[in-house]
């Protein structure tokens, strides 16, 4: 942050809702199909066709509204946003304007200073996505793919409460976590199902009045958002410090050049002529409906994080990490419930070896090769001293490789820990006999050598001897 300046950021996040069919038609929303194979007559804006609202989107928007402590409006209205573009078949986009379905919510992020900070959510409204224009590989012509036309979006508009790119990212991540928790969006940024526009302005520190803002479009990864905002902040401060004025405009972020550039001003001059869509009735919801949705809301990340700390006695930052996705949290809870091992041990394994293996293989937790129950079985064997933590890593790798359950691997590989004192004593005796020099040094006071002896015993037992017992027996014998 450059001294003497304050940054003001508001985000408009577009979350694609995870419905099977489109918001106003029965066509599929699946991603990646051949161009124009998932656009029906309604999506194509044929003469005479009419939109019919997909009820599922109302349910999803309601869930979101409740999750961010917002007012879910009992009555909301779809409006037409009129403009011409080839990827907008009807010549208008059906959106919500004066009466959105969700208003005045909030969420809390960890601010730059480490303190908790409230970020206001102005509104969230439902709308249909447009299609895609394709300019590449078509020899000076443009193609249009209308598969995406009519895909349901929830546009989530924040208050200008964010004061840095980092806060913007923290806010966006939080929204990202919430929509995935609710199961209302897959949040896939690469496929464009979670993207945002940022309104950025700067003002001298202490000034009340807002500076002129620029709207940054086309931000589809957390990294780009941060870079685009930071570039824009610098640019605006430079403009003002050089005696210029920031122009209110829409700017596109170019990730290759890491810069923002103004869009053609023509597109700025639009008067969208919003008016209520006469083809759709206002969305009316009963208080019972909203209450019902509230009852069925899943536990949200913040509440889950707190519960993990209280119930499992986890470190706060571990609880944070485990609750960053619902599937990870569910995996942890399922494993913790199925083992007598301490919850912190379960957490360590989920965040450590398991996450490592998932990352290595590029797998989602849902596709983990070791199930929650499988991991619990392994940790139980640490807890009951059948194996040591070290051996457990070896067992885990074998389980990941499909060699069976923890018990099967331990059995097949003969990894069971040696707890028979006489057997350990026999090995200890051999080690002492074979290393008279080190024994003499130890006895003369070089007690650090105990590690050497333990190592020798463990090597001789292929790591299977119980480390506690080895220690105790060694000390007894060496001091004898």
């Amino acid at each position: 942050m450059r001294a003497g300046w304050e940054v003001v950021i508001g985000l408009e996040i577009h979350a694609q809702l995870a419905t099977q069919s489109k918001i106003f038609s029965g066509a599929s929303t699946a991603y990646g199909a051949e161009p124009n194979t998932q656009a029906c007559l309604v999506d194509l804006g044929y003469p005479g066709v009419l939109p019919v609202l997909n009820e599922e989107v109302v349910h999803m928007a309601t869930m979101f509204g409740l999750a961010v402590n917002a007012t879910v409006q009992r009555r909301s209205v779809f409006a037409r946003k009129n403009y011409f573009y080839p990827d907008l078949p009807k010549g208008y986009q059906i959106s919500q304007f004066e009466l959105p379905i969700v208003e005045t919510g909030e969420l809390f992020i960890t601010a730059d200073g480490g303190e908790e900070k409230r970020i206001g959510i102005t509104r969230a409204h439902l709308e249909e996505d447009a299609g895609k224009s394709i300019h590449e590989g078509l020899d000076r012509r443009s193609g249009i793919d209308l598969n995406r036309t009519g895909t349901p979006l929830l546009e989530i508009v924040s208050e200008p409460d964010l004061r840095s790119a980092k806060e913007a990212i923290a806010y966006m991540r939080k929204i990202h976590t919430i929509v995935r928790y609710l199961g209302i969006s897959d949040g896939n940024m690469q496929e464009g199902s979670f993207r945002c526009d940022a309104n950025v302005s700067v003002r001298p520190a202490g000034q009340n009045e807002l500076g002129t803002r620029a709207e940054l479009k086309n931000l589809n990864s957390f990294r780009f958002i941060e870079r685009a905002i930071n570039f824009e902040i610098d640019r605006q401060i430079d403009v003002i410090e050089d005696g210029g004025k920031v122009v209110q405009e829409t700017r596109l972020y170019d990730s290759d050049k890491d810069e923002t550039r103004p869009m053609r001003s023509k597109e700025e001059a639009n008067d969208y002529r919003y008016f209520p869509d006469p083809d759709l009735l206002p969305v009316q919801m009963s208080a019972e409906y909203i209450e019902n949705v509230r009852q069925q809301l899943p536990e949200l990340p913040t509440a889950k994080q707190r519960r993990f700390v209280d119930q499992y006695d986890l470190k706060s930052e571990d609880a944070d990490l485990l609750t960053s996705s619902r599937s990870l949290a569910d995996f942890f809870e399922a494993a913790a419930a199925a083992t007598s091992a301490k919850a912190q041990l379960v957490a360590n394994w989920v965040m450590g070896d398991l996450s490592g293996a998932l990352n290595r293989d590029g797998l989602d937790i849902a596709d983990s090769k070791v199930s929650a129950g499988g991991l619990a079985g392994l940790l139980t064997r640490i807890q009951d001293s059948t194996i040591s933590g070290k051996i457990a890593k070896q067992v885990f790798e074998a389980m990941w490789g499909g060699e069976g359950t923890a018990d099967e691997v331990i059995e097949a590989k003969g990894l069971k820990q040696i707890t028979d004192s006489s057997a350990i004593e026999a090995v200890v005796d051999k080690v002492i006999a074979a290393n008279p020099g080190q024994v003499a040094e130890y006895k003369s006071g070089k007690e650090k050598l105990i590690g050497f002896f333990v190592g020798q015993v463990m090597q001789a037992t292929k790591g299977q001897a119980n480390p506690g017992q080895v220690n105790k027996i060694l000390k007894d014998k060496l001091s004898g």
């Binding site: 003469p47 009419l50 609202l53 011409f84 002529r273």
Partner: protein, 491 residues
Amino acid sequence: MSRPEQEWHAQSMTALKAGLDGGAFTSVELTHALLDRIAALDDKLNALITVTADEALAAAERSDKVRATGNGGVLNGLPIIHKDIFCTRGVKTSCGSKMLDNFISPYDATVVEKLSNAGAIVLGKSNMDEFAMGSSNETSYYGPVKNPWDLSCSPGGSSGGSAAAVAARLAPAATGTDTGGSIRQPAALTGTVGIKPTYGRVSRYGMIAFASSLDQAGVITRTAEDAARMLGVMAGFDERDSTSIDEPVPDYVGGLKESIRGLRVGVVRQHFDAGLDAHCAKKIRESIAVLESLGAKTIEVDLPNLDLSVPTYYVVAPAECSSNLSRFDGVRFGHRADNAEDLLDLYCRSRGEGFGDEVKRRIMTGTYVLSAGYYDAYYLKAQQVRHLIADDFKKAFADVDVIAGPTAPSPAFKLGEKVDDPIMMYLNDIYTIGANLAGLPGMSIPCGFVDELPVGLHLVGAHFAEETLFRCAHNYQQHTDWHNACPEDFE
């Protein structure tokens, strides 16, 4: 006993149904006869844009086979015409516009589907004002329709082709659409029966939109009974139209024969002011007297905001049309300008060439009233006035069952007479527009002649009171003969 072939065209749909069901003639014979009549007479009228002779004969053949097995829908084998605003699969659906001159619809409108499922035979698609914007049929890309009662006169619009075709006995029934009077005014001007049902009564799916909150499909026939028969098939909830209403469809035909004794008929003070032709006013009063003679009671009612209905309509309807017609951009279907230089050029020229003057006038008006800075003063204000007008009707219907009055201020006017004066043309719909703004059912029935041109009696009912309108109209037609009058050249 079968009547001579040449008289089939003169029969009502109800009579033709009896003939078909009784085996007096076949649907193929009937269809042939009407297609021959169209071929012989429509050059004079220009009522049809497309004649679907082959499809009609094939469908008639199928319907005869179905009838032979003792099955078939309630309209099995009965020929009809569709206004060219209804999408019909595999058939040109032009909406009276150059913009859609090349448009073959890939699907059937719900109305088309329902009538076909009931066994109706589609003879062709009728001429209309371009995108249903007009009251004289003169805005059609395919040229004006002539009024069968006087070929130098307009048949009214926008469903002028349907009205002229029914009046000239080319078909016993034709579908229409009514946004501000587009079924009722042409019905009045051609001496036919036209009903625009309650908004939401008939699905709008597949009906090319003009002004979505006002558009409603209906039918033009020669008798109230035929209209009841047709509407019984067309009406009903459609999950593809969110504005269609899930309300059971009564047996309209079954309810016709009840008397209208005690029916409370509202007569609107404001209907008989200077705007109404004096001779027409006399006919209207006479026909109301007929209703009284049948046991109805007349009650004077007020519609104080009636004079605001035309200006309100000409804000709301253009606003909606300016948006509804944006999809005609030359990109996916319809007219596309040749050799466009760039996107803007493609848009401007495709639309500039594809739309006629009246459509452009309304798109521009609508765009203006929705623009930033004007929205509140025009569109929002119009919506408020619309509520006032609806409230006036609501109050009136607290005291009466039906409102009776003129459908149009005068009988048919000459083609070319008003075409250069849009305001005069717009005022032709003053008595009908209120029912659209309030979403009420309205019906026009023939009630006499002025200067040898037909005059229409306008009946308006409360929401979903179509039964009452049909009963009132049927009782009237049982005691009058105006609906049987036939234009001389089309007997």
